[in-house]
Symmetry: C2
Amino acid sequence: MSVRHAMLGLLAQNPRHGYELRAAFHALVGGKKNWDVKPAQIYTTLTRLEQGGFVAEDGIEQDSGPEKRIYGITLAGRELLAEWFACGVEPGHQQDEFFLKLMIGLASGVADPYQLIQNQRTHLFQKLHDITKQRSNIDPGRELAMIFLLDKAAMHLEADLRWLDMIEGRLDEIKRQPLPEPESKPRGRPRKT
Amino acid sequence: MSVRHAMLGLLAQNPRHGYELRAAFHALVGGKKNWDVKPAQIYTTLTRLEQGGFVAEDGIEQDSGPEKRIYGITLAGRELLAEWFACGVEPGHQQDEFFLKLMIGLASGVADPYQLIQNQRTHLFQKLHDITKQRSNIDPGRELAMIFLLDKAAMHLEADLRWLDMIEGRLDEIKRQPLPEPESKPRGRPRKT
DNA sequence: GGTGCCATGTAACGCGTTACATGATTAT
DNA sequence: ATAATCATGTAACGCGTTACATGGCACC
């Protein structure tokens, strides 16, 4: 959903071939460790963009070794890019997998909710630790952008941890709630009317 | 990535057919407005789970109208579910689309970064407003879980807004940074060697 | 001679989406 | 009548993934 547009933006800056696109992307985002776009995605996206008329082949470069197919952005591509810049980005899904896990655990009775919360908490603490460690190891003069990314991740992790504390304190309230269809339609063996 | 496991959990609680699965899912998550799982996904996931041996058809119910194929969870399914419960959930991607947009705008020179930030800020404010409004309209006695979901979303939105303020204050520092390959390989018309 | 980078792709799959199609029952 | 809900699916696509395959070049 975003790589597509990012590739357009990079082609708007300068015509490139696939490999250069990937390198430029990684440079922008602070290395492949942060956001690794696989070659397969680069090339498939590129052909899709070409089929849509948003980029066009702009010649082939061949100094030594394999051919390098240079792509450039088209007018339609610039319009698509402008639309992307003009609209707001949806914040990370409220579709929360952990919440789902907790509710499923509660409803099915298969998992202990306190245990689930504790698991998740240590998991997030670990992530937070990794991030602060990573943050302390980079040069703010050269990789400032990456610091911002890490800061953002840390802020979200802290929010998640606070949220976990909150729901843990109220788990008993949730459990007292009328669970949706606990045994409403008990089903045994198959039957026909 | 998560619907699959949620369906397994619901089948562990009680054998069901596709439509009931969907209804139970929506009930857990607070209505289809919060997390709408489309029928197509239910049925395709169900057949995939069946092919994997994690669920099995448990008979057909037919009271009136169409057949209802009841599915039950298998042993392999219960194991898969237990694994899901045992592992931690990855926090929402640090792969941030807005960050990408900002960097692409900066690098390509096509968009004004301050404008981008302002756009995003109003967008997020709008979302935050919607959420607090929605939160005030629900009964905490019956839909407590949904309140938690909304609280979480609000906390993340606030974090995002604080982050936007932060990077806006430092945009000039980013701009002073050595941009990755601005015009390193100027390319005109195609050429061979 | 091996390792690793440069550079290109194809094939197949997983998850999720939209759009389409069918047909019965129930409510207005 | 017609609209909504119940209940089932298929087809095709978009994005992203892993795994695989090819081949030249550079360096140690």
